[in-house]
Amino acid sequence: MNQNKKKPQGGLLRRLLGQMGFLPQRMVVDETEAYYAASQWQLMGRKFRKHKLARIAMVVLGLLYLQALLGQFIAPQGLTTYSSAFVNCGPTPIRIVDDSGRLRAPFVYGIATERDPVTMRKHYTEDRSRIYPIQFFTRGEPYRFLGLFESDLHLFGVGEGGRIFLYGTDGGGRDLFSRIVLGSQVSLSLPLVGLSVSFVLGLVIGSISGYFGGIVDSIIQRLIEVLMSFPTLPLWMALSAAIPPRVPMLQMYLLITMILSLLSWTGLARTVRGKFMSLREEDYVMAARLAGVSDRKIIMTHLIPGFMSYLIVSMTMSVPAMIIGETSMSFLGLGLRSPVTSWGVLLKEAQEIQNVALYSWKLIPLVYVIVTVISFNFFGDGLRDAADPYT
């Protein structure tokens, strides 16, 4: 807490401005008093709110995680609901005006199928003779909610006989919207696991290396060099071949992610070390040391807050990198496999030329990935600005 009082630079500027008459006097006083009385977290929260995009990003991320949490309820279908009649069917248009020009509650038409006799491509058109209003809180496919209880309640659906594919279907006739929603459960949670492992390792080892220097630093740096040279591809191949087939896909993937994140903390550790090396020469560190503060305390209370902003940026930047990493693994054929679904699995299916060229709605998962990545970044940006001790 005493730190706040030590370096109120942002407040300083404000007070200067106030004294120079740029700000109404009363406000300066109030604000400064509130400012000094606020805790570190309140300060951060206050600054965070100033960053408009970060706020939006936080809301978006919140919605995404909420959607993942309520996945089975939001998704109209399960992951293995194949439908041979609706293979590669485009998104179902939702209408509010019917053929007679009458306005009505949102509805969809029935779907008619026709096969092009030359190219054998299935074309799906609206069958205007059948109208299915969209219903909310409908009964549908049964599922186990969060593994806790059975339910068959779904957020939305259309009546018996109708079909609604918000984002179209894939090559197995499965509802893409459902797969995206259910896939987000994996894609939004797995990276966090891997990340936390490598983040903690990178931070701890990097700090030690940078603060102590000398022989400790040398040993750690050599260790990092060894780990950096580890070829991950054969390692991954060996691991996935060695793990027996009875281990469920998701567990196997989690296991491998964790093993690989044991190798991937090196980048962070190196940056942390670089930062430490310059910070440890700062006068206030020297002062602390002379005052007999323990090494651990110096690292924790004086050094790490000194570049917290960098760590936060790097961490929020790593989440998207992990999400992308998962899709790359799928591309190499080493990632998850359907019916276990993640966004990487969906993108792997989308990346075939014919899907990009003919069934472009299969790229919708990409939008989710991009939105997530951008949100994480803006969110991180906001945090950075908030955590910055100088502004």
């Binding site: 293995t80 194949y82 041979s84 009649a85 293979v87 590669n88 030359v118 190219t119 054998m120 491509r121 299935k122 090559g171 197995g172 006739g173 191949m237 071949a241 087939p245 009875r246 054929g333 496999r337 359907s338 019916p339 299916e349 075939e352 030329i353 014919q354 060229a357 003919l358």
Partner: protein, 627 residues
Amino acid sequence: MRKLTLLLLSVLLVCLASLAAAELKEAPMLAELVAAGTLPPVEERMPVEADILVVEPEDEIGQYGGALQLAWKGSNDRWWAGKMTEEPLFRFKPDGSGVEPNVAKGYDVNEDATVFTIYLREGMRWSDGMPFTARDVLFYWDHLLTKETFGKSIYECYYSIDPDTGEKALASFELVDDYTFRVTHKYPSAQFLERVAIDNKWLFAPAHFHEKVLAEFIGEEEALDVAAEWGFNDIASLGKYTGYYYWTFQQIPTLRAWVASNDHEAQKFVMMRNPYYFKTDTAGNQLPYLDQLDFNKIQDDSHIELGVLSGDVDMAVFGVDKFTILKENEQKGGYRVLNYGSTDWTSFSIQLNQTVKDDNLRALFRDIRFREALSIAVDREEFVNLVYDGLVDPIQISIPEGLVNYQEGWAQRWAQYDPQKAADLLDEIGLPWDAAKEYRNNPDGSELTLTIHYGSNTLNDMGTELLKKYFNEVGLNVNLKVLDGALWNEMKYNNELEIAVETIACFNVTLRPETVVPVRVLTPWQGHYGEWVATGGASGVEPEGDVVKILDAWKLVSSARTQEELDRLGDEIIKVFAENNWVIGYAGPAPKLAVFDARLINVPEHVIYADEFRDLGHARPFQFSFK
């Protein structure tokens, strides 16, 4: 009978030749070289007039010139370049019924089918201008094949078998004159020529070249130097690449229509026309029409697809799953998509390893009721719609109508979706449910899990995913395990595959038996039976049950004398195979999509695309031409 056909054929050829070959014509690029004096005139480069092979073009007399743009992944795709340019001694006729002379001019065979006299073409030359004679055949036999210089054991087709004792005897070769050689078998070998056409397409090698590189002629040390010069590490590699995979090396003369002209690891590997090629069209134009084949290096299969769509690739073959995207862009990309036949019996099947190591699984896999249950537990109608977009038939594995040994009714056997009956069958076998009523256990109460091994691609991924669902529905717990090529092979040879996703392709079981008859380790359902047969019982698993019947019939095949006898034996083998359904098919065979640039003429509308016929080589690319 044979002799008569041969006689008629030769007469016909001679007539055609004399009609057309009043004057030989050649490609402009060669005419320039002749004019410049660097190449002898075309008459001196080709066989004597009567021995030229005259080819009737598919549609019309073509025009010289043009480079065919092709895609390949580098030298590991050597067979792609190899098969389409291959010139075997005898090649399969367009309809696949028996062989016809190609490099050879003709042959005689005695009554017993033991002595084959084979005639070559007088005046024929290697691509470097040196004469091609029967000595090159004898050289191949004496110095390459029987000495295993290129690392392959002597092919089965050169052994004849004593029908009584089963004893194998190696054939003998003798030189008759410059253009004639004789092969003598100890026991009858009625299918010798067909089997040569499959096992050992080229039965000749440029002696004058190999005498300069083989250790036998130039000594170990010198040979090592040559190997090093070629970039090889050892003499064995030199032997393999010069004696076997020879067609991608520019230094080695061949008889092919196009010969390698640069480094095969280059970004673009070019095969240029062979000025000494021995075929003409009916107007006396020396073939080939196309100047060169350009093999452009790619890294991923999707590049072939993109190349075809954009017109950068002039010729390629695809699976049926690319049908829609290819058809949609036919106009824009300027190509034609042709449906070529295949010898596939199915496009998606699982093979139950009959010698699987686990005792419980082995008993199950050998139980015909279990195989029936696995077959009828799957809704094939839905399966083909989801995996193949409904482009193939929802039928059992079976020989397509029109191929040898077609079996009526096999296609429909166990093809009807009946999960109830499947469950009943599993009950009958005695597979009890576990405590949670979720999955079935082994009869002894231990946990039962089926592992399906497969190589990952879009079709297999979807197919196995569905199988897992169907099998789960009848109470069978299934694990899916993806294997890459190396691991697949490793496990296959170690008898570790359980249920393997692999199709069966075979155009005539008496000629190419290994997918149906366990003669060596190859086809997953046979497991290690093949090992047992190949090693004469030294290792592997001893065949039992109906597999023995197949092997017994196979023993009679090699000593059969008439076609009728062969067909009957083939039928017998296939019947046993069909009754047992060790391989369960869920989707009917699909055509191969052969894509050709729209400007290309003389491309046959339909051929059978099969390895035995050398894939696209069967479409006779040497007479393709650009309009």
